[in-house]
Every structure is written in C-alpha cells, then in structure tokens.
Symmetry: C2
C-alpha cells in the first residue's frame, strides 16, 4: 500500500519549497486535497503565471513584469545614487522609508561560498557595469548586517572603490545580526541618513 | 513601488499552505523565481494533476485515483475487522506494521469543535453505515492519543457500541500526547496486539 501516484508526486514537488521537509509536505498535500481545493488550484495557476510573466529588470535586476521596473522607468529619481540591496523585498523596504530617491541594484542574494554563491551568482559583473556608467557618483551598500551581508558589502566596496567610485555603507543603526526586513522604517531611514564611507 | 502583480498573487496563493505566513510566503516565492524555476513548474503541474486525479475511496474514504483503494479492492483482507484512523498517512503507518489484515475507515480529521470540525466533517454518518454492513464484527479505533484523537475515539465508541458492535481501542503503548506518524512500527504493532475493549 502506497500513496496514489499523483499524491506522491505532489508531496515530492512541495519539497522544492524552502524549509519544507517530508512530513510538512505530506501535511500540506493532505490539507490541500482534503480542505482547500480552491487554494490548491489558485496556487497552481499563480505558479504558472508568475513563471510566465516575472523577469528581471534590465537595469536593477529586481523582479518585474516589464522590461524595466517602476523605479528604473521613473524620470524623477536621482541617477547619481545607486543603492545595492540583497533582495526585491529589501528594495521595497527601502522605498517604504520614503527617504531615498536614487536608483537600485538588487543582488538577488549575498556572497555565501559554502552554499556555492559567489560573485557571479550575485551578478557583480552587471553591478560593476551598472555602477561605472559615468552617471552614478555614489554607491550605497544596504546589504544586511549579517555575517554574509557584511562580507558582501566589504567585497563590493573593494571592487567599486578600485574603480574610483565613492562607496558608502548604511549606518549600523540596525542591531548587529539584524535583517532589513525585520526593522521598522524609522530605524532604516536613520541608518540611511547616517551612512558612512565604506 | 510594489511587487509585480503575478508575484504578489503567488505570495498570496502560497499562504493557503498550512503554517506558511506572509514572510515565509515571500521567501518561498523569491526562492522559486530566483533559483528553482524547474521546481515551481513541477509543483504547479503536480497540484493540477492531483486535483484532477485524487478522489476518496468509495469504501474507506482514503485518497485514491481509482474507485476503490488497493486495500479495499484486495480479496485477501479480513472484512470482519474495521480499523478507524484519522488520516491516509496513519493508514500507511498501520500497513507498515504488517500486523493488520482487516479493512480501514479514514476519518480525514478528528473532532475539533473549536475549528468547526464536528461529526459531519469527519464523515461519521458514512462510518456508521460502513460499520453496520453486517460483515464487520469489530471496530478498532486507532485515532491519535492526543486530546482530540481521544475525544474522537470516545465519541465513535459510544456511537458504534449503541449499534451492538464490538469496539476496541489500540493499546496506549504510544506515549500520551503522541501521534501515530511519529512512532516506530514495532511500538505501533504492540499497541495493536494489546488493544482493549473501548
Ligand atoms: Zn529596475
Ligand atoms: Zn479504500
């Protein structure tokens, strides 16, 4: 006696979600099939639609459905400032402070050699090209204050300083070990104002 | 600045999974779109296929792709014994002990008035009909030894005893508060052998 094939496959497929082990995957599959057919159908469609429509912004690398995201397409932003963040969520957090009017570059990760995430995986070649477009005057590093985020900031700082760019780091107003996502807008705004040379 | 529509919808849709809050849903969506397009496509297809193919066994109520599951369709089972379990996973656990050759009824849940799960939601009308088919002689209650599982066993016992059926409970060989899924086969087999009148 085993689970029917399509149920087994669903349980296996759910394990592609980060943090979902075999027991949670089984619980999720049972829940969807027993109590939430509507949710399951919606999730199936949402996955297919997102795969079909979401791409990376040609300028800043964040997720977008267009060629460029809304920030990059705007004519009201200060193109001499370039803020480097780890994820699209961090970009949204920065925007919520309403205290930054420059441009962004989204690494889509942070350096993590143990996980096989090196300079190439976080698109540092594209960042270098973007930052040396002749318009950008200052690069603000807003990676997390975790060990990996700090290492990433250090690496990027060396890389861009060598090209004669001014590079700054948002102030350590956030608690050490803290992540941008878990901090209030006011603290993050303060950290932005108090940025220091990197 | 907001997430693109299809990304926002994916994050909302992921929240139909039990135990997934807004932050995990966002992390899952980013992970799938950034690092695992293959997994996302597979999950989308698996959800659609399972929704299309999985139904409930006409006899025991477990998940199956056929009219009847493999256990119910088998001619080698003892039809005088009916074992009541909470979930299809519990049925698989019972089968793994290789010490039960009777039939099953899967409640697909347990009584939980606070969550709005009453006798109807766990199909006690169908169980009553199934257990009084004239062939079943003994009903073995193998719900979990949690508060809700015990309450369910008590309720079902009253219901079926009133119909003159012999009703037993698997032995409390499992730790109090324990769940079938988290116990080894040997312990579960012992609990089955030592079942007592309910
Ligand atoms: Zn952009
Ligand atoms: Zn069956």
């Amino acid at each position: 006696m085993e689970n029917p094939g399509s149920l087994d496959e669903l349980i296996r497929a759910l394990r592609c979600l980060p943090g979902v082990g075999p027991k949670s995957a089984q619980r999720m599959a049972y829940h969807l099939l027993q109590r939430d057919h509507e949710g399951a159908g919606r999730l199936s469609g949402a996955l297919a639609a997102a795969l079909d429509r979401i791409r990376h912004c040609a300028s800043c690398n964040t997720f977008t459905e267009a060629e460029q995201c809304a920030v990059c397409a705007s004519t009201r932003r200060d193109r001499t400032l370039l803020c480097v963040v780890e994820t699209p969520g961090d970009l949204l957090m920065m925007e919520q402070t309403q205290s930054f009017s420059g441009m962004y570059f989204v690494l889509m990760g942070r350096l993590s050699p143990l996980d096989g995430i090196g300079p190439k995986e976080i698109h540092l070649d594209r960042l270098l090209k973007r930052a040396t477009d002749g318009v950008v005057k200052e690069v603000i590093l807003a990676t997390n204050f975790t060990v990996e985020g700090e290492a990433t900031a250090h690496y990027v700082s060396e890389l861009l300083s060598a090209k004669g760019l001014m590079v700054s780091r948002i102030a350590r107003g956030l608690p050490v070990g803290g992540e941008l996502e878990h901090v209030d807008s006011g603290t993050l705004a303060q950290a932005l104002v108090e940025r220091r040379p990197a």
